[in-house]
Subunit: 339 residues, 4 copies
């Protein structure tokens, strides 16, 4: 079977990573087309990949007959138009989060795909492909711990760019925990409250950091998330499920234990998301390539998952401003056959 | 110097433990008098301790000239009268929590001791004497981690007696985390909210379990506490402080690591509070005995600490009913010179 | 650049794994030819891989003009002849350990490759590609811990096939620790002693298990290895380096922490070598494919490493019989220019 | 019951610790007499303890009618004479290790006590009272792990005084692991070999450090011990038992977990033996005081245990010089009725 010919749209840090991933570590695919609004960058990258060319207009890239499937690593505001083009041309697409930048357009994408009658869109919530989350999910599904009752999460970054604002903590960081919650609990989130404690003195002026998110699911389960993006320490992601018959935790990484002359012991904390989730991205892409080649097209989070995350984050941003719990508004999934 | 002659009032499970502690492990003290409203039990225990006698009326025991100091392990509703008697007779007293059963009477005890002009009352928040909490406090005070910002706590019991109700989760379990918060952060708690997620199917009918407490301190720091008293697993108490320059956690006990043929590895979780905090009780009592013998009388949580805990728990119970955040009402400490 | 066309010789459990690896997870390579002395098995597998055919004679497969590189997963006794054929045809080869089954023939292979003047042979000591060993090596090379002094290893299997004998513990299990020692310490092992303690009652009659290997390196460093292949527990590989300024340990895997109602806590021990070292195999193969395509041919343990391991294991088997320390006999590497 | 009147002989660092222990933390005992060959030091300490006096001659202290029991913290060479005096006067004695400084005199003490027909001597192997060793022993005795097969120990000190020589590593450090082996395995050690790897560049000239001890027990079980007394890191004592149905390890202390801005995580390693084993000493003394007051006199390692440790260490020192395995020579315990 010939290699899948992929167009990668957007070759910033994340997109360039995906080009390298598809070219050197993923079996059965090759990058046929790259595109970026900085055309020089696209051309530069195309030149390093045998058989790859740069295309100026992303919609041309999607329509290109030499392109079998699309990876979207473009800025969020362009996603809606590009996703609709993929649907129109029947091209499977792996779309980095967010699906789109607001709930309304996300729902529009869900509806359009549902009308098509077949799945083409996968959203890049890569944690579902991380082996620790997969183990945790399997443990819960296996029933050994009984019904899951409470979820505690911590999402910590050492630092963020100066342009990072309080709403981005919700939209870019919390969104992962939103998907993790939905993945682990298999149900929707119905309300959310963002608490803003006294800020870290080291956080940029105006950035509410840390933030605490309190969420409730359809069956009344509680989720709390510590979001802290200026810890100065390291990238840390920790998840603990408390269930009826026990609890389980991931993210207390103890790889290499080291003892030193200053009387301390311990290991290295994973310094960044690439180190922590590199394996997850590789697995996500290999499974997506395999799914597309086999005709299934999607093997992971769907457009609905992208829509649901958007709905929760929108309520989260509202709570960030009001300080009060906000109910999450979503259409009834059953009202969209095929979603 | 002669041994301190102690009266132990109340010789139920906890009081009998304290009698044994003072008789066999604490240096410089002996149990001179025991009392219980079940007089036979007091007499039985007195018979096993050389030089100890049973006294029928707790107030007689307090007034007894052969008694230098008092340990209160009686039911909470009797504390107010017994504490006031201790103050009247100038007897140092180590009072098991709660100080009294409501905020008003707790404040009355604080005021009366303040009028005396010297400290006589120590409240039995024994976690402050646990070596892990002491290490954590020292770490925070040492400044290495910068300003503490967030506190995550988990308080889990395998099971509770059938009479345990939702308010007791607040008054008997959360009260410890209230004191830990005040101990670690050196400031008062100003508001509290109790969240009731979908209950554990295994919890007794009518018991809201788990509960999540969300607290805020005077300077705006966030505290969350998972309270889960029917885990079926073990006694687990975990505390994590997230600070400006790092974080620290206690309670992930890794004493004895064991690997087994079922392919699992791990250790034994501390099965009960005696195993977990036995050392803390011993240290608490030895330091209290030493403080009383040296004339200092108190070396630990004071009557004010008991009052403050009562005020937070009262607000907690109100929130348990309303589901809403409740402000904690406390008098200004500066208005009571000597408190 | 066209995909590397690989011949996989031997498609038993391990070889079939390699076929799957090259076909589905490794970028830039495809399996062009498979061979097995059970010809039906080779044909069966060839039928599932597009563009792959079965070849009856392994030497024909090596000589095949449609084959760019060779993977040897055949039984050890056939390695010598197959490796020499690869050298003769100038085909890069990734040879599963052992290089050959005795020291004399291993040295012959080393000499022949050295005469060629270019590296073609890589030996499959895959632990060097495991991220934990790589981290440990980097830590040592970084100098933070000073000079490494002592190495403690444990190599535990839950069970072995009934045909497993005492010498196989040395040749098949210890051989990995021999390579790890040489990898971490960058020097040769000069003596070895195998101690046979009282055997595990659960071990098959006649199998000396556990065994303890005591090794000494050229500069006098001490290595001890616990070899225990009937633990009934799980696959466990642990390595601790004790150095001048600290120590470091890998293999105490703490991925998913789970607490249960029986009062224990812990995680799942990796049940088998595929789970533990699957990533290492993938990395080994991807790097080997990349090295061959770039013309470097070898990016890992060389023929000399295979020879050195054979020399140590031969001495180990001698010590297994005598119970005494045995000096390792090796030719001087400098006497073979190009080795 | 009146407090036990104890004479503490030798008030150097360890003896002064024991005086403090008996005076402030142990219930049911008081220090009646202290003695030291530096008479001023004894007088100084006696002055701080109510009802305590200094006695110049240790034998007078033992004979003193106001002394019920004796603690020996004097230098090893004086132990024989002092122990025999204790036996002569029928005084229970807690003797810091070593029992005596050579095997012959140790055996003489064992015989003399056996002739008396009652136990009076307890040897200060305090690890048996450490809660982790006690847990490990209980785990083995409980049978869950089946028969113990192999014991791995590590004994690391950050530094030693300049007078510390290679034989002291055996006599003062290894001796604890000798007792731990005999305690956990309930059998004698029959041979020992000391391996001297290339020395730590940071170790004092002439000190063989690290050393590796290889021991074998009567039933053929294997024990290895890493002895490393100039690690520069911390006091670390780790013990792992590998048994038929699993393994268990103590000494990987994870009390307080801390994460920091330099990207590391971990805790504080116990900095010294007082922190590590302080609880063990307290428990040892409390149980000894209780045993003496109840007339049992000994509740811990006996004179025979001291003799056996001496015999193993003597063989160890011989192996240190020869580099060869040395058989341990001991009399048959059954030949000394009452031993």
């Amino acid at each position: 079977m010939p290699d899948l010919r992929v167009a990668v749209l957007g070759v910033g840090v994340m997109g360039a990573d995906h080009v390298a991933r598809l070219s050197t570590r993923i079996s059965g695919a090759r990058v046929a087309v790259v595109n970026d609004y900085v055309t020089e960058k696209a051309e530069q990258i195309a030149a390093t990949i045998p058989g790859c060319r740069a295309v100026v207009d992303p919609l041309d890239a999607i329509a290109d007959p030499d392109v079998d499937a699309v990876v979207l690593a473009t800025p969020g505001p362009t996603h809606e138009k590009q996703l609709l083009a993929c649907l129109e041309h029947g091209k499977p697409v792996l779309c980095e989060k967010p699906l789109t930048t607001d709930v309304e357009t996300a729902l529009g994408v869900v509806r359009r795909e549902a009308e098509l009658g077949r799945r083409l869109i996968q959203v890049g919530f890569m944690r579902r492909f991380d082996h620790e989350y997969a183990q945790l999910k399997a443990l819960l599904d296996g029933g050994e711990l009984g019904r899951a009752l409470v979820l505690h999460c911590a999402h910590r970054n050492p630092a963020v760019p100066p342009t990072f604002d309080s709403a981005m903590v919700v939209r870019d960081s919390l969104v992962h925990e939103v998907d993790v919650t939905r993945f682990l609990f298999d149900e929707e989130i119905t309300s959310i409250q963002i608490i803003k404690p006294a800020a870290n003195p080291g956080a940029p002026q105006g950035l509410a950091d840390p933030q605490i998110a309190i969420m409730r699911t359809a069956s009344g389960r509680h989720v709390d998330v510590e979001l802290f993006v200026t810890t100065g320490v390291a990238y840390e992601v920790r998840t603990e499920v408390v269930a009826e018959k026990g609890s389980a935790m991931i993210g207390l990484d103890v790889g290499l234990i080291r003892k030193r002359g200053d009387g301390t012991w311990g290991g290295q904390i994973t310094p960044g998301f690439r180190e922590r989730f590199g394996q997850a991205y590789d697995t996500e892409f290999q499974r997506w390539v395999d799914a597309v080649r086999s005709g299934v097209n999607v093997d992971g989070p769907s457009a609905w998952d992208g829509y649901a995350a958007a709905a929760v984050c929108e309520a989260g941003v509202e709570s960030l401003n009001s300080g009060l719990p906000v109910d999450v508004t979503m259409v009834d999934r059953a009202s969209i056959p095929g979603a």
